[in-house]
């Protein structure tokens, strides 16, 4: 049941027009003007501190938790210090662009054009990075083989560690950092960290004041009591350790907000919330706190997570459509001794999510051989609601995958998920999990064109593709390392670093290698289309010899618009087996290339001495990455999207049902993609009807686990409903669907992505 409080807050949030807020940018810029010549990390810390001190704060009607990033709900915060250009160019189109629209007032436009843009032009992170990118790296980007991310916004994709904070309190952390700073007064990281921590304490105290003032004016006595209680909680957690679930949640949220003010980044993910919060839940229950109150606190927190949306450029919004903010929480799994870690709070979180049904928190569950049947029931019951949440992760392959990356057994068992599906050891990792995408299909296209289809045999085709993978991976690595140094030298994150081991011990920011684990995660994309295309080439050109590869290429070049082209395209689609149908001869081709990509990637190290880790997920990038590839031998037309997800079969090509899909995916070496991979499967709601439907879905998930696939997520909404929502969006304001590793409000997605979701094969029985 949703209370009136929650319903009202939710309605207000979704109703409001999304605005651009330049408040953070203005304060930040003002601070930068005053700190010329100081070390970058100090400038960042001072700017963050000034934002925390000056940003307008608010308590919305009926709120139980304090802390709004912006006064108006779901405002987009501009970060001109990262990339001033795209905003400048898109100021007049932000309100009308196809994806993630924002309103910009005339006043804001003027401020941006006249004050912010001129200050940052030539001095942003983007400039810093662009000046260092080599010709080869730029070319790799221009051919759309390599897509470097995080060149225009702050560094997220990190899970902060909360255990120490929650058990010792913020004051204790401030003391520890101050002691370090006094011991090493020259260490700028400690100085910067202390500045941000002290500013955070003061920021929280501002909320204590505000709530007290509001309480004094409040006429409704019960609301007045709530506000006074909230004021007490804020005052307490600004310094002292929290004792109740309510206090712990409030502190958790303030820390998240401060991290957002610091970097305005995607995916500062909460990790294993059910594990570090359960002691507070248990203590509350022992002390007689009503479960309903704890649920209301949780629902309030989930709403807060939907209030934070990210402002992206028009191009970036194509890749990450519908605000994947990345409040990714993972439930269940194993404890450090390898026992089942599902607890009462895991259930309660799913229950309260069922009440909210919004894109955030992006819930996931970890399953393994010990997962109890009752938990499966709750998971499938939630999946059945159709929002695509929770997504499911498989301990049985992910933990061994981490062991293969020299992570200890205990730490591997503690893994969590950051962003969409990226795998990370919480509180210990700076993983640059989403630093680049690598378009494997484009490599194939470029390779075939280079030799105009003149290869001795099929083995030569594969060898040439591998050679190019090796070449372009090197450029990608070079590019990633440049982006990494950009963040290190220009945009360190000392506040967030305080919550990542071993930054405080080392006295080093995460961006400079302070974390215990230092990965860079790069995604290989296009496995399905690659399998399908190469299988066609193998059969058609080298075994059946119906046509030569050069002849095939000439038809592809004109997008099948030559004579007989349409019949050829039909033949390529229908007469050759496709990935996703459990035919290992096809699946193994993609598996071989993807494994080659993984092995190539893992041979490289980054600037922090950590390893590059391969992954395979697309977010929504299969649409723009597909736009960059011409017609392919699998019958895909020029510019058509790639297979969605990362590991999913090409849309409409999986004809043998959802079990065959899992079998095909299991042919890939899923231990290697230790940065994370993604599989979308769509079911018609009828497949999950009744307990019998739930039981069969549980059987399906358990088979998924045994097949050692890392990830799966579901869309359980009929295509008819989605089409109806396209026709009458106003009636479907609340319809949440799965995009890729995250969920979004359907009507807020652009038509191309909506159509993609509708087209994904729906398994009906």
């Amino acid at each position: 049941m949703v209370s009136e409080r929650i319903q009202n807050l939710k309605d207000e949030m979704l109703k409001a027009r999304r605005d651009i807020s330049l408040e953070r940018a203005s304060i930040y810029t003002k601070s930068y003007r005053m700190t010329e010549g100081e070390p970058a990390i100090i400038r960042r810390a001072k700017a963050t501190a000034q934002v925390l001190a000056e940003v307008e704060i608010s308590i919305r009607e009926g709120e139980l938790l304090a802390g709004n990033r912006t006064v108006k709900p779901r405002s987009g915060i501009a970060s001109p210090e990262m990339d001033p250009y795209w905003i400048y160019e898109e100021l007049d189109t932000l309100h009308s662009r196809p994806q993630d629209k924002f309103y910009v007032s005339d006043e804001a436009k003027k401020l941006y054009r006249e004050e912010l843009y001129p200050y940052w032009r030539g001095h942003s992170l983007k400039d810093f990075i662009n000046a260092r990118l080599t010709k080869e790296v730029k070319e790799a980007q221009e051919t759309h083989i390599v897509n470097l991310n995080q060149t225009d916004k702050g560094q997220g994709h990190i899970i902060m560690g909360y255990r120490d904070l929650l058990s010792l309190g913020l004051g204790n952390l401030v003391d520890r950092v101050r002691a370090k700073q006094e011991k090493e007064p020259e260490n700028v990281f400690y100085q910067a960290a202390l500045i941000t921590l002290e500013a955070t304490v003061k920021h929280i105290l501002r909320y204590a004041e505000l709530t007290k003032t509001l309480a004094e004016k409040e006429e409704n006595p019960s609301r007045q009591r709530e506000l006074l209680e909230l004021s007490r909680v804020c005052s307490k957690v600004a310094v002292h350790k929290p004792d109740t679930f309510y206090e712990a949640t409030q502190l958790f949220w303030f820390i998240n907000l401060a991290a957002q003010y610091e970097s305005n980044a995607s995916s500062i993910s909460p990790g294993r919330f059910d594990q570090y919060m359960v002691p507070f839940y248990q203590r509350d229950r022992e002390n007689g706190v009503q479960e309903e109150f704890i649920k209301e606190v949780l629902r309030s927190l989930w709403l807060k997570m939907n209030d934070v949306v990210l402002l992206r450029s028009e191009d970036s919004a194509k890749y990450f459509a519908g605000f994947p903010t990345g409040y990714t929480i993972i439930l269940g799994g194993l404890d450090e001794r390898g026992h089942c870690a599902v607890n009462d709070l895991s259930y309660l979180i799913l229950d309260t999510y069922q009440d909210i049904r919004l894109p955030q928190p992006n819930l996931g569950v970890r399953i393994n051989e010990f997962t109890p049947r009752r938990f499966y029931n709750k998971v499938v019951e939630t999946i059945r609601l159709g929002t695509g949440i929770p997504q499911v992760f498989n301990d049985e392959v992910i933990i061994p995958g981490f062991l293969n990356r020299s992570v200890s057994l205990e730490e591997a068992r503690d893994y969590a998920v950051v962003g969409c599906v990226e795998l990370s050891i919480p509180g210990k990792t700076y993983g640059l999990h989403d630093i680049a995408l690598f378009n494997l299909l484009k490599v194939m296209e470029v390779t075939l064109a280079e030799k105009a289809g003149e290869f001795d045999d099929f083995a030569a085709v594969k060898a040439a593709i591998k050679e190019n993978i090796r070449r372009y991976v090197a450029y990608m690595v070079e590019g990633c390392n440049i982006v990494e140094t950009g963040h290190r030298d220009f945009a360190p994150i000392p506040f967030l670093s305080c919550f990542v081991d071993s930054c405080l011990e080392k006295g080093v920011d995460v961006s400079a290698g302070g974390a215990k684990f230092n990965f860079s995660g790069v995604q290989g994309i296009g496995t399905a289309n690659l399998s399908d295309s190469l299988y066609v080439i193998k059969k058609l050109c080298y075994e059946d010899k119906r046509m030569t590869l050069s002849e095939l290429l000439s038809s592809l070049k004109v997008n099948f618009e030559d004579e007989g082209g349409e019949a050829l395209r039909a033949r390529l689609i229908h007469k050759y087996a496709k990935y996703g149908n459990d035919i290992s001869e096809v699946d193994d081709i993609g598996a071989e290339i993807l494994a080659y990509y993984c092995k190539t990637v893992e041979g490289y190290t980054n600037e922090r001495g950590g390893r590059f880790l391969p992954g395979s997920y697309t977010v929504s990038a299969h649409v723009p990455l597909g736009a960059a590839v011409g017609a392919t031998a699998d019958g895909r037309k020029a510019g058509e999207q790639l297979a969605d997800g990362g590991l999913s079969p090409m849309v409409g090509r999986d004809e043998k049902g959802p079990t065959a899909v899992l079998k095909s995916v299991s042919r890939l070496d899923n231990y290697l993609t230790s940065n994370g991979s993604l599989l979308n499967v769509k079911f018609h709601p009828k497949a999950l009807e009744g307990q019998a439907g739930i039981n069969k879905m549980i059987g399906y998930l358990q088979a998924f686990m045994k097949l050692k696939i890392q990830h799966i997520q579901f869309n359980i909404i009929s295509a008819d409903t989605l089409r109806a929502a396209q026709r009458e969006p106003e009636k479907y304001r609340n319809l949440v669907v799965r995009v890729a590793g995250y969920s979004a409000i359907f009507i807020e997605l652009n038509k191309a992505i909506q159509d993609d979701i509708i087209a994904r094969t729906e398994h009906v029985f």
């Binding site: 039909a570 065959a660 439907g693 069969k696 088979a703």
Partner: protein
């Protein structure tokens, strides 16, 4: 030994428990007018043409193997036991986790009983749950051979009136009923499946006769299969007339009324099979 198979369908969740793979045998001695799989009737392979898929390229010249779009497709493939086994075992992990298995259906599996019995025997040897779906219209020896290795027998009871059965289905109901009696006698787990076809099987008398029989035999579970029109386009694809193309599907109320009546007599009723 080979059998003519027209489809092996994975992830079926309506024909026996759990996640199942169904092997459809081609050829059936009955000719039920409502048959949703008309390609299952003939004992020979045949060409189906899906008009909607044809791209009018004129490449095929009537040869299904050369049709690029898949509009022309041959129905029916002679397969060995090993071949069928290899295909159905692909989903064994799902059988294990969901309590599923393999169901042999048709057409009429009794018409290719030797092959089916061998397939079932090998499946049981691998510990896989098995079911058959049959009209019961065939030799007892053949059915007995299958019953030996089938954990569940989904047994169609369509039209109980002997004359109507003969006329409409082309089946001697006496054979069907005798076979049923023997299966029950043998202690097999039999689940009657009743297609609900307006104007053919849904009248009170027919349903009562079926439920009386089931009660007499101590059968606990009954599956109801409401008429649908999903198969109608297949008739067109085969170039055949479909007598029931205008017949309306039964309403939920009609189906639920029959369900309630059966439940009142103590049966566990599953709509669509489960």
């Amino acid at each position: 030994m080979r059998a003519l198979i027209f489809n092996i369908q994975r992830y079926s969740i309506h024909d026996g428990g759990g996640i199942r793979t169904i092997v459809f045998f081609k050829g059936c001695p009955l000719h039920c007018p409502w048959c949703a799989n008309p390609e299952s009737q003939s004992f020979e392979s045949e060409i189906m043409k899906l008009k909607s898929q044809c791209i009018h390229c004129n490449v095929c010249a009537g040869n299904a193997a050369e049709c690029p779009s898949g509009a022309l497709a041959e129905q029916g493939k002679w397969m060995s036991v090993d071949e069928v086994l290899a295909e159905v075992l692909k989903d064994s992990v799902f059988f294990n986790t969901s309590g599923g298995g393999v169901t042999l259906s048709g057409g009429e599996v009794l018409s290719q009983a030797d092959f089916a019995a061998e397939l079932l025997r090998q499946l049981k040897e691998l510990g896989i749950h098995t079911a058959i779906e049959t009209s019961g219209f065939g030799r007892w020896e053949a059915l007995e051979g299958l019953a030996e290795y089938a954990d569940v027998i989904l047994y169609d009871l369509k039209i109980m009136d002997p004359e109507q059965s003969k006329k409409t289905l082309g089946a001697d109901s006496e054979i069907i009923l005798k076979n049923l009696a023997k299966l029950v006698d043998k202690g097999c787990r039999v689940i009657p499946r009743v297609p609900l076809i307006p104007g053919f099987t849904m009248d009170e008398k027919n349903i009562t006769t079926i439920s009386d029989l089931a009660q007499r035999y101590g059968l606990k579970e009954i599956h109801l299969l409401p008429f649908h029109q999903y198969g109608s386009s297949k008739y067109e694809s085969l170039g055949r007339d479909y007598a029931l193309k205008d017949l309306a599907v039964p309403t939920d109320e009609e189906v639920n009324a029959i369900k309630s009546k059966l439940e009142a007599r103590g049966f566990m009723v599953v709509i669509g099979g489960g």
